[in-house]
């Protein structure tokens, strides 16, 4: 029977403590000291039991060794220190102690080996997955790069540091006009030419611009940028060059600059370049020389377009440009300055009339196309001045002003620049353009002209007119100004709706005949919205339509379907209609009859002459008397405007006219003034 191995419990505790010290000094165990101590105590118990067990079996020693590893007691010297502690603390037969500690060591060694193998297995898997991930990333990067490389519109060349191609993409081959394979062994430098730049090229400001000679001999403009591709150690390995084809851009740039200075259709200078060439010629002209500028407007050109089509119209414009160049000579400048406007600038031209005749003769020669012979005529404004008399800008403006005057005087006219006419035009233009602002600002007012019965000079109605608060001297009326800018289309409805508010006043004043008249301008007469406007005005004021007399412009009604529609509709509404500016031609009389107008207002048949000074039997008077008789015979009353005084009024009354208006009866009066004048007339 063996001696008890551990005599007292205290010995066992001492062993556990010394083993703990050995472990703590040699290994990191991620547990509290109590937890570790408990584990060690169990192992000590196992070993103590094994020492006294019969028959002796060292296997529990192996298990303790394995458990040490499992619990992490695996510092470098942990086994050695542990065995030393156990050798000292375990009591019993030496042979049993030796075989038990050998078993501990052997179990520990095997477990540690297995643990290391397991860790290395894990490590291997980890490395594999890390590598696979890296490989996946690399492949994804590579395929992304391939995609970009192959599909890029920018040429990409990867070259050796000496410039030889390593790899090129399809875009680069396209730029160089060859196959990718053709580039093998070559270098980018072979394609670069050093030809000088075209001056004024729109691309001249671009840095890194290169000119390449393509394989087919053409030149290509490119934008090239290269950078170094470092190898893994950071040193340069390859050069990557991006090549962008600028040829298209270059061509476009050239074309744009040509278009900037030339008219695309005719090839002659355009307006912008004409101004600069005028300026140049003006600046270089000797003080004694003269500059002659003709501005031409083709007569009725829109008719050519609408009748024969734009293609033929364009052909005519080209022909005109060529012929003008032929007439004007090499030193002249011919330009197209508007859709159907040309300008010809000549230094020291022949006398104006000769020059204009030459142009007209050339243009009137028919141009035969597809069996259609087309000749055009032009209205021409001419200005001729020495360089010191006018600046180049003034010269151009004067030419265009003369052209406007020529246009105003009819077709195939030419007008030489006239300072006074120009001044009038400009005053008129500025007044007309200022009118919309005046209207917006409420400076435009409602006024009335008094209409009187010529038989007894009794006021019978009023005519509403727009009036300016501060009318400018020597200018046409606000209504006429409005007509020149088109404002009258907006002004008409305003006049109608504003003035109908006063109809009750006039009704009380004049009785039941039409008491309120509005005369419409040509634009207003043809306005498609007219009947709507009048309907609304009537509805808003709830007046009988018969109190309203609306006069349309005679010339517009005879020539315009819309205006005739308006006349008919107004009659249907019940408004009394009138035609003003009535000259008495057969068509006009027919219109008056057909549309059953209530009245006509004569256009002045005597062109400003006082009629009462004319002989009674002169032809104009006879004709007018005839016209008045005719109109009255078909039930149309005849009105006269511009009656200066009562003598004139009496003259017209004798001739048979029904109503008169003008200075004799009061023009442009405010409502109150009309009231007081009418009352005093009673």
């Amino acid at each position: 029977m063996a001696e008890p191995t551990v005599r007292v419990r205290a010995d066992q505790d001492t062993l556990v403590r010394s083993w703990l010290r050995a472990v703590a000094a040699t290994a990191y165990v991620p547990r509290t000291s109590q937890e570790i101590t408990a584990g060690l105590a169990e192992m000590v118990d196992t070993l103590v039991a094994a020492m006294v067990a019969e028959p002796f079996d060292p296997t529990p020693g192996t298990e303790v060794g394995e458990r040490m590893v499992a619990e992490g007691l695996i510092g470098e010297n942990t086994l050695q220190q542990s065995v030393a502690a156990l050798a000292e603390g375990l009591h019993g037969p030496a042979d049993r102690k030796v075989s038990l500690l050998v078993a501990v060591s052997s179990g520990y060694a095997n477990a540690l080996r297995n643990r290391t193998l397991a860790q290395q297995e894990n490590m291997k898997i980890a490395l594999h997955s890390a590598m696979r991930q890296a490989e996946r990333d690399r492949r994804a990067t590579e395929s992304r790069f391939r995609e970009v490389f192959a599909s890029s519109a920018v040429g990409i060349a990867i070259t050796e540091l000496d410039g030889r191609f390593v790899e090129t993409n399809p875009a680069l081959a396209t730029i160089l006009a060859c196959e990718t394979g053709d580039l093998a062994g070559r270098s980018l430098a072979e394609f670069i030419t050093n030809e000088p730049d075209v001056s004024g090229s729109p691309l001249a400001h671009l840095p890194d611009r290169q000119r390449l000679r393509r394989l087919n001999g053409e030149t290509a403009w490119v934008y090239a940028k290269s950078s170094l591709l470092p190898d893994e150690s950071g040193g340069p390995a390859y050069r990557v060059t991006m090549v962008q084809d600028l040829s298209e851009l270059h061509l476009l740039g050239d074309r744009l600059s040509h278009q900037l200075l030339h008219d695309a259709l005719t090839g002659v200078a355009n307006r912008i370049s004409f101004e600069s060439r005028l300026e140049t010629m003006h600046g270089k002209a000797a003080p004694t020389s003269t500059l002659t500028l003709c501005c031409l407007d083709l007569d009725a050109f829109s008719m050519v377009n609408t009748t024969y089509g734009h293609e033929l119209g364009n052909r005519v414009l080209r022909t005109v440009a060529q012929r003008l160049e032929a007439v004007a000579g090499e030193k002249a400048v011919v330009a197209r300055i508007g859709s159907d406007e040309f300008a010809v600038l000549v230094l020291d031209a022949p006398p104006v009339s000769e020059f204009v005749d030459a142009i007209n003769a050339e243009l009137s020669e028919p141009d035969y196309t597809d069996g259609v012979g087309l000749a055009v005529s032009a209205s021409i404004g001419v200005v001729r001045a020495g360089p010191s008399a006018m600046s180049s800008a003034e010269l151009f403006r004067a030419g265009e002003s003369a052209l406007r005057q020529a246009r105003a005087s009819g077709r195939r006219q030419w007008v030489e620049f006239d300072h006074d006419a120009d001044k009038r035009d400009r005053a008129l233009g500025s007044a007309a353009t200022a009118l919309p602002a005046a209207w917006e600002n409420g400076e435009l007012d409602l006024r009335y002209d008094v209409v009187a019965r010529l038989a007894d000079h009794k006021p019978v109605r009023v005519t509403a007119v727009p009036g300016l608060d501060r009318p400018a001297a020597g200018l046409p009326s606000a209504a006429d100004l409005a007509e020149t800018t088109g404002l009258s289309v907006a002004l008409g409805p305003w006049l109608l709706s504003r003035s109908t508010e006063h109809v009750p006043v006039w009704r009380a004043l004049f009785g039941s005949e039409p008491v309120h008249r509005v005369l419409l301008s040509p634009l207003q007469s043809a306005d498609a919205e007219l009947s709507g406007v009048i309907n609304r005005a009537i509805a808003a004021t709830a007046i009988p339509p018969g109190l309203l007399e609306v006069g349309l412009h005679t010339g517009t009604v005879t020539g315009n379907g819309d205006a005739q529609d308006n006349l008919r509709t107004l009659g249907d509404i019940g408004v009394v209609t009138a035609l003003h500016g009535f000259a008495g031609g057969p068509r006009e009389v027919t219109m008056a009859e057909r549309f059953k107008v209530g009245a006509v207002l004569l256009a002045d048949p005597f062109e400003g002459w006082r009629p009462d000074w004319l002989p009674h039997d002169c032809v104009q008077v006879e004709t007018t008397r005839g016209l008045i008789d005719t109109m009255r015979s078909i039930g149309v009353s005849v009105g006269v405007r511009g009656v200066r005084d009562l003598a004139e009024a009496r003259w017209w009354a004798e001739l048979g006219a029904d109503t008169g208006e003008g200075p004799a009866f009061g023009l442009g009066l405010a409502v109150d003034d009309v009231l007081s004048r009418v009352r005093s007339a009673k």
């Binding site: 990191y28 000291s33 695996i74 510092g75 860790q119 490590m123």
Partner: protein, 270 residues
């Protein structure tokens, strides 16, 4: 024999340059290391004979600081520069205390990440993010993307034995500040790093040895480390050798705490 162990390593992984993570693993008795790492470890041991103790103490500090943070109510952890999973990982310590704890590891080394992925594959409350801890924006974005941490609740940010690899040029104070600003009030910082203060000669030799590795070292003084805790209130006992920070008296009795070589501390975001 040393070379033969690497024959099983797949091609394409750079093992020529030893890594601090694998060196640390070796010093702690792990098997996740290679000949070059062990060779470096031996040179390290020559320069600093107490390297194993230092490693043990640092690992022990990590464990105690995590438990401290759990005692203070924290249940989520961001372990920056976690390295190769070795004995006593943060999620093991935390889950042992409360299985509901959530842990995000961050490391930039491929093998460490692959290894952690293997280990955490079946663990819904822990994961690893491969990112460089010196680029906080990336790390924070990737961490948020895991959805594991709630940035409105306090987070235990762990920087154990890692900032001695971050040079001053990278402005460590700013880096730490970014993490501090990204976390809620009451968050804590567990921080430890090498110092020259305790064993200057050995430390100088270590710096020299580590110059050849992927991870050269930059020891800092106690004052410099305190400065890195800007915005944090440093808890008792302050910045001390790892062995003296809330020591487990049963284990570390009778050892010279200065052998720790590493200064450590925990701070609470103010």
């Amino acid at each position: 024999m040393a070379e033969s162990t690497t024959t099983w390593v797949p091609e394409g992984i750079d093992l020529d340059r030893p890594s601090a993570a694998r060196l640390y693993d070796y010093l702690l008795g792990g098997g996740h290391n290679f000949a070059h790492d062990r060779e470096l470890a031996h040179r390290f041991l020559k320069a600093q004979p107490h390297a194993r103790e230092i490693a043990r103490h640092n690992r022990s500090f990590l464990r105690r600081s995590v438990l401290f943070m759990i005692e203070n109510g924290l249940r989520q952890f961001l372990d920056l520069g976690s390295g190769i999973p070795t004995v006593g990982n943060v999620h093991e310590i935390a889950h042992n205390a409360d299985p509901a704890c959530r842990v995000v590891y961050v490391d930039y080394e491929e093998v460490a990440c692959a290894h952690s992925n293997l280990m955490l594959a079946s663990n819904p409350n822990a994961t690893i993010v491969q990112a460089d801890l010196t680029v906080p924006e990336e790390v924070l974005a990737a961490t948020r993307a895991t959805g594991l941490l709630d940035f409105d609740q306090p987070i235990g940010v762990i920087m154990a034995g890692v900032f001695h690899f971050v040079p001053d040029a990278k402005e460590p104070a700013k880096i730490i500040g970014r993490y501090r600003d990204a976390t809620a009030d009451g968050s804590m910082l567990s921080f430890s790093q090498f110092t020259r203060d305790l064993m200057p000669e050995e430390m100088d030799r270590v710096v020299e040895v580590m110059k050849s590795s992927r991870d050269p070292m930059f020891p800092r003084t106690r004052e410099e480390i305190i400065a890195l805790f800007d915005g944090y209130e440093i808890v008792e006992p302050g910045i001390v050798p790892t062995a003296l920070w809330h020591p487990d008296t049963g284990l570390d009795d009778g050892q010279d705490p200065n052998l720790a070589g590493i200064l450590a501390g925990v701070g609470r975001k103010r």
